[in-house]
Every structure is written in structure tokens, then in C-alpha cells.
Amino acid sequence: MDATLKKDNLLVSVSPHVKSEESVSRIMWTVCLSLMPALISGVYYFGPRAALVTALCILTALFSELLFKRFVNADSTINDGSAFLTGLLVGLNFPATVAFYIPIVSTFFAIVITKQLFGGLGYNVFNPALMARAFALITWPRAMTTWIEPTAKFIGVDAHTTATPLGILKEDGLDKLMAVFGNASSMYTELFFGHRAGSLGETSILALLIGAAILLYKRYITWHIPLSFLGTAALLAWVFGGKTGLFTGDPILHLLSGGMVLGAFFMATDYVTAPSLKAGQILFGVCCGAITMMIRLKGGFPEGVMFAILIMNCFAPIIDRNFKTKVFGAKKANKDKGK
């Protein structure tokens, strides 16, 4: 073919004519990949049932997405990876021992009600995976707070039920918790590696940090939300968390336990349900950290990460609306919206 043959067949489109390689699906699948260490740690500590629960969640998520799109006659969005990611995150937020119908119903709730009924990817107000967990916790409170010892790798042989570190802290206090782990340093070590009761993907801080490092390196997330979230929580834990007065709390214990790390790096950073502007993200993170610690220290639940993020999800749009960028050439920081 030569130039003259091409003449009548040129492709016309609007500029720019070059685009970056980045895509929504690449981002979603990379986040899924970055959660693999957490999933592996879950299987390592809680046995093959952890993998089974997670797989059920993922399959339900994909199936629900497919079903809904078919129902409303829209193109399938399975390939964008967002449903898979939601399923994976739901799985990581469940106890490995949970009855199978619970993750199935909860994941369906996450995809159909939390995500698709609000308009699908990009329009959901709440983080779908956290809504699944909130839904399950309220609907089946017993099942969702029945934990097993991480050593019980072979379920059914010697599965002891126990409480999470935060549960012990809430019910019996720090001394009991110390007694369980022996001393402070061994407690930190066990918590860091994930050798404790808890949701199957939240326990190993090491595994979660490996995933977080991938996301930070790829710049899929920035430090703004996680650091402000964790920093605020640590500060409040130190100031108000002690039994013997102000400034005697144990921030490390609070950072390493519960869903703090999973939430700060993987849930609060969800693009759709968090603010877009960096300044707003810092406020969002600070509020998440503050609400988490209020619930942990004064609330009825031992853990507050989930509710903190869901509450702040409501505020994300209004935060974005009130934090403005400095427009080039504008005289002052751009507060004169609507002029």
C-alpha cells in the first residue's frame, strides 16, 4: 500500500493522539496482585479454608457483576478487575471460619447494592468491600466475631475459638493481652508477622506492607491517606489510650492490630470513595484515624477502622468540593469558586 492508497482511509480523532499505558484494569489487577501476600499469609495462618472463603467472595463478586450488567443490558465490566478486587477485599475482611453463605450474600450486597445501584464503578459512595463487612457484622454478629487461633492450621482438628487482641484489650484490658503474648516485644513480633486471631487478610502486617510498598512504588497510592490515617491513630492511641493517664497509651499495639494497616493502605485509599485532592486526602486520613480511635477507646466495638472509613466515605465529595487547587495565575488560593 502506498501513500495514495492511504489517502481516503485516514483515521480522524481528537487530540491528544498519544496516551499513557496506564488503564483502569491495569490498576485494579495490580492492586489485586499487591494483596496476594496478605492472602497467602491468611492461608498460612488460618488454613485452606481462608482460600476457600476468599475464592467464594471473588466468584460471587464476578457473578453478581455479570448478572447485574446482563439485567440492565449493559456491556460486561468483568475485565476491568474492579469486581475481582472487591471480592478479594471482602474475603480478606472475613474470619476464615465463617459459614459459606455469609460471604456469598455479603459480596452480592457489596457489588449489587453498594456499587451497581449507585451507578457502578466511579459512582459508588461507599467502599463496597467494607459495606460487605458492615452488612455481615450487623446481620450475623456472632459469626463475624467468632475467631480461631492462627495456629489452628488444620481446621476441624484443633480449632480453638479465641478473641482478637483488640477484643481482649476491650474486654479484659492490657494486662490480660500481655499475659497471652508473654511480653511486649514478643507481642509486637507476633502481631507484625500476623500470628493472631483476626480477619484472614488483616493479621500479617508484614504481608500488607509488602503489598503497600508495591502500590507506593507504582504510585497507585500516595502517602497522604495512609500516613495521616496511621499517624493520627498512633497519636491518639498514645495520648488517650493509656489506663494510667494521658500519654501512656501504646500506639504500636494499636497500629499493628485490627484492620488498621489493611484499612489505611488498601481501603481508605480507594480512588472512588476517597477525596481526589491531596490536601483533602490528608483531612480524610486524619478523620479516619480519629474516628477509629474514638470507637476503639470509647465505643462499643473493639475495632473501628471499618466504620471510620465508611463514615468518611460520605464526606469525600464534600471535602473535594471545599479543597481547591491553586489555579495558575490566580491571585489567591482558589476560594472564589462560582465567581
Binding site: 487530540s15 496506564e22 466511579g122
Partner: protein, 435 residues
């Protein structure tokens, strides 16, 4: 890095290696030149010739239609065969004068002036105006208008834009390597016309050879500084260039002259030199014919009015996999629908993209609010909201997000993982609301 630059911006692959090593070479004269009467921002020209008339190269054939306008000249000698509307690269229909080449290569007598620096500012400006010089970086704003700032806006710096931040394009790069003295002379003329003591040439760091040549050429000029700029798109946007070199911000909705600056492109500076020293009007320009779809990427000196098809043919034709031809660079250029459109004063490049670089079936998704566009926007805007408002036909909402501060550089659209045509949404909104 420590190099001068602006905030945010993007790093698209620059692809300049395709043509950056290819020396300037005069293109073959066209057998027919299609010369538009409107090649600039402002009032179109009025034809001063009739059909059948024989014109010489360099002869004025269209007179300026007002102050913000620029005359056009015949780029070849021959007979005027038609005066009619023809499609331009951007799809607009524009009145053109068509000249059939008589292959005599007859020029009007150019008024050579070796001692051009002794001319008065007024005389120099007259020559620039008569030569029909406009901004050759692509914006095509008539140069003499920029050289006539109102009294209350004193100018204290002239910037020559050698950033050439658009991927692929190497026309300015080659001119700085091969004609550095002309560019510096052009800058000196500009400084004299405006009575300015400080001249700057900003060049991106990916053109070390150009920086070297230009520094060499400006060695004895203490008033001229060559500034090395960080490689980043859109470094060559007027506002970003001024920010990088002088750390001044053009006020929103304002012009560079509001902060005492005049910016001209490298090619424009060379054309200004030619107009003042050689008496030559703007009848040819350097065009990079490049891209993965072109057989032999080159930098050609092209007569205004030459068609794209002839230039592409001269560069060996299109590769089999070429699917899209762009007038200008890939970030802000127009995809042409036909190769029978003429090169104008603002055509900096012809870029042919190959099949594997273009996804014609690509669909865009909803905004996932990842904020990449916000981190990319050199103007500090929130492109995601502009696109969402525009998509929902809420154009007034887009205005609240500073719609009219967007100069459509395309950085947001380049980085968008949902492949949203953000710039196009912006254009749509701009066309449907009043500023």
C-alpha cells in the same frame, strides 16, 4: 534536577530520535501551492491578485485584514489559477489563492540590509509586519501585535521558545543546531524593537547539541541567556515557559505582556531575522515530517502552500501500518482527514502514527477519581470535574471549575487511566457556555 520548570506536567515518550538527526533540507517546490488567506489568528486577508495573474515568489498576494492580521505572500512563482475555499488541516474551509508553478523560480527583489541592527525599532517592526510573520509554534498570533504593547504595559524580557515539548517534532531543534546565529539575531531584533535589555532562550535538556550551539552563538551577547529546561510537557506552553525562566505567572485570562514578557518561537525568531536582514517575507518554514508511519522521517524547509501528500511522498511515503496523520504534534495537533491540505505558517510538523500506536476501538469509562489528571494539569485545574460536568451537559458547573483557564494541552487526557477524552469534553463545554 535543579533545572528550570513549572509545576506538574507529564512525561510522554519524546520519540524525537526518529528525525532529530536529519539535517534541514529544502523540499521540492510544489507544482501547485494552495495559499490560505487566513493563516493566523485574527482577520483574514483580502486577496490582492486576480485569477490568471502571474505572481513572483515573495510577492504579497493578500493584504492584512486589520491590525490583528498578517499579509500573505506567494511562495512560488507562477499563475494564479483559482481563488476559492479549500479545506485546512483542522477541517475548516478557508479562502485560498492557488498558484500553478511556472518553474521559473522568479523572486521579487528582496531588500537586503546587512546593517539591520542600525535600523530604528519602528523600521524593524514595519519590516516584520510587511513580511507577514506570525507565531510559528502553532498559535499563529501575528508577531507585530505582540511587538506593539500598550504603553501601560512595559515589556522587560523577551523569551525565545526552544522547548519544543511536543513529542516527535524536531523542527526547532534542527534550526537551533543549524541556524543558531539567525535565531540569536532574531532575538536581538525583538529586544531592540521592544527596547528590552533581557533576552532568554529556553531549551529542554533533551537537546544538548542545541543548547551547546545556541550558547556558542550567544557567547558575545551579555544580555542573552540560554536557559536549560527540564524535559517535561507542556514546557513549551507560553505560560509554563515564562514560569520556568522568570518565575512569573501570567494572570488568569491575561497575556504575557501583562507581566512584561513577549515570547516568540525559535522559527519565528529566525523568520524575523530573514525579514529584517534579507528582506524575505514568510514564504517557507521548517516542517518535521516524522512518526512511525513515515518511511524516512526528515526536517524539510517547505514552501507555504505545499500539500501534505507531496511532503510525505518526498519522505518515502507512508508505511503500510500508518493509519493516522497529524498536523502538528501528537499532543495538540489535528488528525487530518485528507493529505491534500496545505502547509501553513503554523504547521510545525506532520506526524504519521502507525496502527499499533492507535486504538480506534477504544472506549472510555467512567471517571474513577484517581486524581492523576489533577497531578498532571499545568494550570492547576481539576480536569476530572470539568469532564464530568461537561459529560452531563452541566456546562455552567464546568465554568466554576475554571473551564476557560484550560489551554487544552492534553496532559490530563494523556494520563487518564479510564481513557476519558477530557480535552474534548472541555472543548465541548467551552463552545456551549459564554466565558
Amino acid at each position: 534536577m535543579g533545572l528550570s520548570t513549572f509545576s506538574r506536567g507529564i512525561h510522554p515518550p519524546d520519540m524525537k530520535e526518529l528525525s532529530s538527526g536529519s539535517p534541514l533540507k529544502p523540499a521540492k517546490q510544489p507544482s501547485t501551492a494552495i495559499i490560505p488567506l487566513s493563516q493566523h489568528i485574527g482577520a483574514p486577508c483580502t486577496s490582492t491578485v486576480d485569477i490568471g495573474q502571474v505572481v513572483l515568489a515573495g510577492q504579497q498576494i493578500g493584504s492584512a485584514g486589520g491590525f490583528v492580521s498578517a499579509p500573505v505572500h506567494a511562495s512560488i512563482s507562477g499563475k494564479v489559477s483559482a481563488i476559492s475555499v479549500f479545506p485546512m488541516a483542522n477541517g475548516r474551509m478557508v479562502p485560498c489563492i492557488v498558484i500553478e508553478n511556472n518553474n521559473q523560480n522568479q523572486f521579487v527583489d528582496f531588500e537586503v540590509n546587512k546593517d539591520f541592527m542600525s535600523l530604528s525599532p519602528e523600521e524593524l517592526k514595519k519590516k516584520i509586519t510587511a513580511a507577514g510573520i506570525v507565531g510559528m509554534g502553532g498559535a499563529t498570533f501575528p508577531t507585530h501585535v505582540k511587538l506593539s504593547p500598550p504603553k501601560e504595559k512595559p515589556i522587560d524580557a523577551v523569551l525565545i521558545n526552544g522547548a519544543e515539548c511536543e513529542p516527535y517534532l524536531t523542527a526547532d531543534h534542527r534550526q537551533m543546531i543549524e541556524r543558531p546565529a539567525d535565531v540569536i539575531s532574531g532575538l536581538k531584533i525583538l529586544m531592540k524593537v521592544l527596547g528590552v535589555k533581557n533576552g532568554y532562550v529556553g531549551i529542554e535538556n533533551n537537546k544538548p547539541d542545541a543548547i551547546e550551539k545556541m550558547t556558542e552563538a550567544a557567547k558575545s551577547e551579555s544580555a542573552i541567556k540560554i536557559i536549560t529546561l527540564e524535559v517535561k510537557y507542556p514546557q513549551g506552553a507560553e505560560k509554563m515557559l515564562i514560569k520556568a525562566i522568570l518565575n512569573r505567572e501570567v494572570p488568569a485570562g491575561g497575556l504575557p505582556m501583562d507581566i512584561g514578557v513577549v515570547v516568540q518561537n525559535v522559527g519565528t525568531a529566525a523568520a524575523i531575522y530573514e525579514a529584517c536582514a534579507l528582506g524575505k517575507p514568510l514564504i517557507e518554514r521548517v516542517v518535521s515530517v516524522t512518526g512511525n508511519g513515515i518511511k524516512n522521517p526528515s526536517n524539510l524547509i517547505v514552501k507555504i502552500g505545499t500539500t501534505f501528500s507531496q511532503l510525505i511522498e518526498e519522505c518515502g511515503g507512508l508505511n503500510n501500518n500508518a493509519v493516522k496523520v497529524i498536523s502538528g504534534g501528537p499532543m495538540m495537533g489535528f488528525a487530518v482527514f485528507s493529505l491534500d491540505v496545505p502547509v501553513t505558517k503554523g504547521t510545525s510538523g506532520i506526524v504519521a502514527m502507525s496502527e499499533n500506536q492507535v486504538d480506534a476501538t477504544e472506549k472510555h469509562g467512567p471517571c474513577i477519581r484517581c486524581g492523576r489528571c489533577i497531578e498532571a494539569c499545568p494550570m492547576g485545574l481539576i480536569p476530572s470535574m470539568l469532564s464530568i460536568y461537561s459529560e452531563r451537559s452541566m456546562f455552567e458547573g464546568a465554568k466554576e471549575y475554571h473551564l476557560f483557564d484550560c489551554f487544552e494541552c492534553g496532559s490530563c487526557t494523556f494520563v487518564c487511566p479510564a481513557k476519558r477524552p477530557i480535552v474534548q469534553f472541555v472543548r465541548l463545554a467551552k463552545s456551549l457556555v459564554k466565558p
